[in-house]
């Protein structure tokens, strides 16, 4: 296990380095400097600013200096908000986004998993069709449409739930979490249904039934572990999608999270902010993919040997 983990960690390093390098140079070749405003800035001021942001150095030295900062956990200052650092913005936004993502994932796994398992128990009956049809709608309905529609229905027409905010009014966390989680609930429902269907037809399930175990025990103790494997493998990539989804959900519900900061930085062309958050989010995504691989291997020893043997 340790060896497997080490190999996967080593594989993640070039990916993260590639992200940093590509992002850094992309942002640097972007047309227009960060201080090209309409107002003419005194040359001395401009020089001082450039020195502060190290723009006076040759490009490659800027790059190595940036790598050095990153190694110390410093994502750099913001271009647009002097005095604020990317670290501060991440520190402010991350807990909110993490909480939102956690709730969404919780909703997705519990509802999606449950729906998938229920559907798999009686395939090709209404018990299968209804959850799967709902899942199809969940997959085809984009987050940026579902969110406003839910707000329109529960927030404006029925007036049951607040239409925006995060942690200001009780219940305002519900709609964003559902909006973000819905598509993943749908995917997880499909994955767990397919996984369970495959597992439930295996010999060892027949054995479990033959030795007289009650059906719920067969499903819960023997079926779930194998049947939910595809779901675990999906959670890593889902995390990346959740982050992207949080861009939309945080914009719709005006939640002060990382996703909204990122979109705002993109609009403001706050290059250091974009650079910093991209590097941060990418590293997070790569690490989550790693985690999901490790978890999948832990649940399925066959995979572990595959990886160990290949490397």
């Amino acid at each position: 296990m340790g060896r497997f983990l080490a190999i996967r960690l080593l594989q993640a390093i070039p990916v993260i380095l590639a992200v940093i390098t590509v992002t850094f140079f992309l942002v640097r070749v972007a047309p227009g400097g960060p201080f090209d405003s309409e107002k003419a800035v005194l040359p001395e001021v401009k020089a001082a600013l450039e020195a502060q942001y190290r723009l006076d150095l040759p490009l490659f030295q800027q790059y190595t200096a940036y790598l050095g900062d990153l190694a110390q956990g410093d994502f750099g200052p913001s271009f647009k908000y002097p005095g604020r650092s990317v670290n501060e913005l991440i520190g402010a936004g991350l807990p909110v986004t993490a909480e939102l993502g956690l709730y969404a994932l919780l909703i997705a796994t519990v509802i999606g998993g449950l729906a998938g398992v229920i559907a798999s128990l009686r395939p090709n009956t209404p018990q299968d069709y209804i959850p799967m049809a709902l899942a199809m709608i969940g997959i085809c309905m984009p987050t940026f449409l579902l969110g406003p529609l839910l707000v329109l229905l529960f927030g404006i027409e029925l007036e049951w739930l607040p239409v925006s905010g995060w942690g200001d009014i009780p219940g305002d966390k519900l709609l964003p979490s559902i909006t973000l989680g819905a598509a993943y609930a749908a995917y997880i429902a499909r994955l767990s249904r397919a996984g369970m269907l495959e597992v439930l037809s295996q010999d060892y399930i027949r054995t479990a039934r033959a030795k007289g175990l009650p059906e719920w025990q067969v499903v819960v103790k023997h079926g779930l572990r194998g049947g939910l494997l595809p779901v675990v493998a999906f959670l890593g990539p889902a995390f990346a999608g959740l982050l992207a989804g949080s861009f939309v959900v945080e914009t719709i519900f005006q939640i002060p999270g990382l996703g909204r900061f990122y979109v705002q930085a993109a609009f403001n062309r706050d290059y250091t902010m974009i650079l910093g958050t991209t590097v941060f989010l990418s590293t997070l995504i790569v690490l989550f993919n790693l985690l999901s691989d490790v978890l999948a291997a832990w649940l399925n020893p066959r995979l572990r040997h595959q990886f160990g043997g290949k490397a």
Partner: protein, 295 residues
């Protein structure tokens, strides 16, 4: 079931091709047929829009303002008194164009890359596919946002950026296909005839891998359209005066409290289109008997 088998055998004796066979199976799948019909209708409408749209694209009626659906404006009008149906029709041209063009870009890169990796094999293959693995691990949604910010929001870049993201899976599928095909006799025969690798790939390998390519292409289009709508919704995709379904949804969401139809109709159009493409893709997968995962 029994009669199916009998008709299948009967058709085999008549010598049906793989494609005719697939077509018969596809036609039995009602959802897929529904998807195909909707899709073709959408494409035809999109192509004919300049001639059949009820109003001119830039026609405004500021006195009218936002009005609910009526006989004159079937789907209502927006705050500038522009006909929503007209907007959706023109937006559909862009949304569908992004879907098809970006998917074509992905198709071209992915098929070429995968075919070369699979055909040449060895170290070239290892390096090429390792690169695909690395790119897979990159958070591309973030990168597209970044690209749109850095290079400005132009449409050609949008096509290229989305296409550049979506080719990876296509490359993997194509490589797998080519690897299994190149062992077969007809490829050996082509090699011994002295055909160049490029000709063999083009004439013999790609046509034989068409099934999975078609299925995956059909499933890529909706995800590309979704990506475009996502970017447009955030204001990073299609820019006014052009419009797309994603942009219309974004405007609709801003004013949904007073004018809900501006959100509902564009949303409905996008959802139905995505539905149709997914159903068609699933149906084609079954009809062409392509196994393997969607992703």
């Amino acid at each position: 079931m029994n009669t199916d088998v009998i008709t299948d055998i009967a058709q085999a004796e008549e010598g049906t091709s793989l494609w005719q066979d697939a077509w018969v199976r596809l036609r039995k799948n009602h959802l897929a047929v529904f998807g195909l019909v909707v899709l073709v209708t959408m494409i035809v409408i999109a192509l004919l829009t300049p001639w059949i749209a009820p109003y001119a694209y830039d026609a405004q009626n500021l006195d009218l303002g936002a009005s609910p659906p009526s006989a004159a404006h079937w789907l209502g009008t927006d705050v500038f008194g522009r006909d929503l149906l007209t907007q959706i029709m023109y937006g559909g041209r862009i949304s569908l164009a992004v879907g098809f063009i970006a998917t074509s870009v992905a198709l071209l890169i992915g098929v070429t890359w995968g075919a070369i990796a699979g055909y040449v094999g060895g170290r070239t293959d290892a390096i090429m596919m390792r690169l695909v693995d690395i790119l897979y691990a990159l958070p591309f949604m973030i990168f597209i946002v970044l690209l749109m910010v850095v290079f400005g929001r132009n449409m050609v870049l949008l096509f290229l950026a989305i296409g550049a993201v979506e080719w990876l899976t296509m490359a993997r599928i194509m490589r797998g296909q080519v690897q299994s095909l190149r062992q077969q006799e007809f490829v050996e025969a082509a090699v011994s005839l002295g055909l160049s690798p490029a000709t063999i790939i083009r004439r013999h390998l790609v046509p034989n891998a068409l099934g999975p390519i078609i299925v995956y292409t059909t499933l890529t289009i909706p995800s590309v359209m979704l990506l475009e709508a996502f970017l447009s919704f955030l204001g990073l995709g299609i820019q006014p005066p052009q419009t797309s379904w994603g942009l219309l949804i974004s405007y609709g969401a801003e004013t949904m409290e007073e004018y809900p139809w501006l959100l509902i109709y564009p949303g409905l159009t996008l959802t139905i289109t995505l539905f149709s493409l997914n159903f068609l893709g699933d149906g084609l997968r079954d009809a062409l008997d392509v196994r393997g995962s969607k992703d």
